[in-house]
Point group: C2
Chain length 388, copies 2
C-alpha cells in the first residue's frame, strides 16, 4: 500500500473521533455494569445511557423518550419497517417507497411484500430526486406507510422530506425516513422535518460501530423485532451496548456543536475536488443533485472506463473511494441507484463515489486532482470504447 | 456507595479483560475501515474479522464458516428461533423447549406460537434439570425444532445436551441450544455437543458488549432476520462491529487458554462462599443442581425474607448481586425459573444470585461471609414470617 492514506469513503464508515473514544474507554473495564441491575454498580451504566439518549435526542431536537437504541443503521431501518407495519391497526396494506433506498429498506420490503403488502416504488429524476407529487398520486385508501430516505448514501441527493411529510400528514399516513446519510451531517430538526420515524447511525458521524437509533414520534405504535428483556422500554431487547452508546452520544454532541464548521470545510474541499476533476478531465459528469446534496458527496462518472479500475488504481496511490454503495460493493453489480437515475450502463459503471469527511484536507484533494488525470488517461487508452 | 466494590453479578455482564480492550483500540480510530470495501483500507478490518471468526470458532471447536456474528445474545437467540422456523421445509410446526429458558427464547416463541406453531414447554425437576426422556415423549411427527439452554443463567444448572442432541438426531429434528451462560465458562466442543445451532455472547466472557455469535452447523438452513447488505454471507446484514468482534475474538482465545484455571479458581471461591453461608446462616437452601452447575453460580434462598431487601443491604456494603435474572430484575417479579423448579413463592422471593467470575477473590468471599449473617438476622427480625 502507498504511504499516503487518503480516506474518501466516509459514506461507508468514519474514523472514530478520538474524543468519542476517550469517553467510551471507562465503560469497558471500569463502569461495566448492566443498566438493568438493581444494585449501584449498574448506576454508572444507567446514568451513561440516559445521558447518551439525551445527547442523541438533542442532535435532532427530539425528546429523550423518542429515541430507541439499536445496533446499526440496518437494524433501525428493518425495525422501522417491520415494527410500523406489524403494529398497524388498519387492515389495509400499502407502502410507498422510492427506487433508490438503501438495501436495508429495499430488502425487508421484499419480505413484507411476501406477507401480502403492496409496495409502490416511486422513481427518481436524473438528479436522484423523488418528486413529492408522485407520492401524492400513489396514495390509496390502503396506504399505511411512506418510507423515503433523507439523503441518498451513494449520490448524496437530499430529498424534500418536508413536503413529503406534509402529504403524509394530510393523508394520515405514517412517514419513516432513513437519515443515516444526513444526521450529524446537515441540520436535522425532527419536528420541522415532520416524520414519524427516523433512522440514524453512529458510525457515519465519527462515532463507533455498534450503536444506532430509531427516532419514534411519541404515540407512534411499533411492534418490536428483538424480543427478550424489557430494555429500551420493551422496544428492543438485549443488554444495551453501553460503551458504543456512550460514544454515539458524544459523537452526536460533537456533530451538533461542530456541524456548521464541518459542513463548510467538507463542502469546500469537496467543491475543490469536483472543480479540479472537471477542469482536468474530459467527459466526466457529476451525479446527484447539483445543490440539494450532502456536503461530502462527490459522485462522478468517467465515460468509457470501469469505475472498479479507477478505484483499484486510486487504491494503489493510497486513495480510498467506492464504486456503488459500500454494502453492495462486493456484489460487483452496477449501482441500482445510478440506473434508476437514468444513467446509461457505461456511465453507471464508470463512476466513483468520493465521500469526504471532516478529517480530509485540501492537500488530500490536491493530491487526488494531481493523481487522477493520468489514471483516467491510461484507462481510456486501454478502453475499446474510447476514441480520442 | 461503600468503598469496597465486590461484583458478584457476572451472569449479568462481565468486566472487559484489559487484554481484550487493548486489542480493540486500534480498530476505532486507526483501522476503522469497512470490511466490505474494495480498497485496501478495508483490508485491516477484513483481516481482523477473519481472525476473530477463527478465534470464536476455535473456542467451541467449530469451523470458521459456521460462525455468524450478531450484536448480542438476545439477537442470536431470536435469529436462531425465527431463522430456523422460517427456513423449515416441513409443513409441520411444532417446537419443544423448556420452561426455564431465557426471556430471549421464551418471548419470541410466544410470537412464533401466534404464527400457528405449537410449542411444548418441558418442565424441570427441583434442581432445574430437564429430563431428556420428557423431550423424547413430547416429540410428534410435526416437531421441527428443539431449543434447550446449555446452562440456566439464574441457577446455573447444566442440561444434558448430549442426550437431547442424540434424541434430536434420531428423530431428524433441529436442535438449538442457548450457550450464553456456558461458552467460555465450561468446555464446549460443538461436535461432541451435537447441536445444530448454538448462541453465545461476548459480554458474558470478559469481552465487550455489542458482539455475539450464532453457531450454525454446515448445511443447516436459516432465514435471516436483518436484511440489507450481504454481510455475514447474507445471514446478518449491517456493517460488522469490528472493534467489538475483535474483542469477542480475543475474549474467546483467552477464555479457551485459561478455561481450566478460571474454572478451578471460580468454583473454589464459589464453594467457599456457599459453605460459608450454609455454615453461618440457618434456613438457607442452595438452588440449582448440586454438581452439574457452572463454576460461578451460587443461587441461594434465605427463608422468611425478601431477596430484594438482601440485595439492597448487600449493595450498601458494596457487594453487588442479583435477585432473579438481571433482564427481569427491573420487573420485580418472582423468578419464573425458581417457580418452575417448585420453590415456594416465599423461598423464590427470598433468593439471591451470587455469580462469581475470574476477577473475584477469596478475600471478597470472606468479606461477604462476614457481612451477610447480620444482614439476614436483621431482616428476619423485621419479618412477620420469621419465628426464632
Amino acid at each position: 500500500m502507498a504511504d499516503t492514506k487518503i480516506f474518501f469513503d466516509n459514506a461507508s464508515t468514519t474514523k472514530v473521533d478520538p474524543r468519542v473514544l476517550e469517553d467510551m474507554i471507562p465503560y469497558f473495564s471500569q463502569h461495566y455494569g448492566n443498566p438493568s441491575s438493581l444494585h449501584d454498580f449498574g448506576d454508572a451504566a444507567h446514568g451513561a445511557l440516559d445521558n447518551a439518549r439525551n445527547q442523541v435526542a438533542s442532535l435532532i431536537n427530539a425528546d429523550d423518550e423518542e429515541i430507541y437504541f439499536t445496533s446499526c443503521g440496518t437494524e433501525s431501518n428493518n425495525l422501522a419497517l417491520w415494527g410500523l407495519t406489524r403494529a398497524a391497526k388498519k387492515k389495509s396494506r400499502h407502502i410507498i417507497t422510492s427506487v433508490i433506498e438503501h438495501q436495508s429498506i429495499i430488502n425487508p420490503l421484499k419480505d413484507i411484500r411476501k406477507e401480502g403488502w403492496e409496495i409502490t416504488h416511486i422513481g427518481v429524476d436524473s438528479n436522484g430526486s423523488v418528486n413529492p407529487d408522485l407520492i401524492k398520486k400513489a396514495i390509496t385508501d390502503d396506504t399505511v406507510l411512506i418510507s423515503i430516505m433523507h439523503a441518498n448514501n451513494e449520490v448524496g441527493t437530499i430529498q424534500n422530506i418536508n413536503e413529503i411529510s406534509e402529504i403524509a400528514k394530510q393523508n394520515e399516513i405514517l412517514f419513516h425516513s432513513d437519515g443515516v446519510a444526513t444526521a450529524g451531517v446537515i441540520p436535522v430538526d425532527i419536528g420541522e422535518l415532520g416524520v414519524d420515524a427516523y433512522s440514524f447511525s453512529s458510525q457515519q458521524m465519527y462515532g463507533p460501530k455498534g450503536a444506532a437509533a430509531l427516532y419514534l414520534k411519541k404515540g407512534v405504535r411499533l411492534k418490536p423485532s428483538l424480543l427478550g428483556g424489557i430494555q429500551e422500554r420493551g422496544r428492543r431487547a438485549g443488554t444495551e451496548n453501553i460503551p458504543a452508546i456512550v460514544g454515539f452520544g458524544r459523537a452526536c454532541e460533537i456533530a451538533k456543536d461542530e456541524l456548521d464548521k464541518n459542513a463548510k470545510h467538507v463542502s469546500s474541499i469537496r467543491d475543490k475536488l469536483v472543480e479540479g476533476i472537471i477542469r482536468n478531465i474530459d467527459k466526466v459528469k457529476l451525479n446527484g443533485h447539483p445543490i440539494r446534496r450532502i456536503p461530502g458527496s462527490a459522485h462522478i462518472s468517467f465515460e468509457f472506463i470501469e469505475g472498479e479500475s479507477i478505484l483499484l488504481m486510486l487504491n494503489m496511490e493510497g486513495i480510498f473511494t467506492a464504486s456503488g454503495s459500500s454494502c453492495a460493493s462486493q456484489a460487483l453489480k452496477s449501482s441500482y441507484v445510478l440506473v434508476e437515475m437514468g444513467l446509461s450502463t457505461t456511465m453507471a459503471q464508470g463512476s466513483i463515489s468520493f465521500s469526504l469527511g471532516k478529517y480530509n484536507t485540501g492537500d488530500e484533494v490536491d493530491r487526488t486532482i494531481c493523481v487522477l488525470p493520468p489514471i483516467i488517461e491510461r484507462l481510456r487508452k486501454m478502453s475499446p470504447l474510447f476514441k480520442e
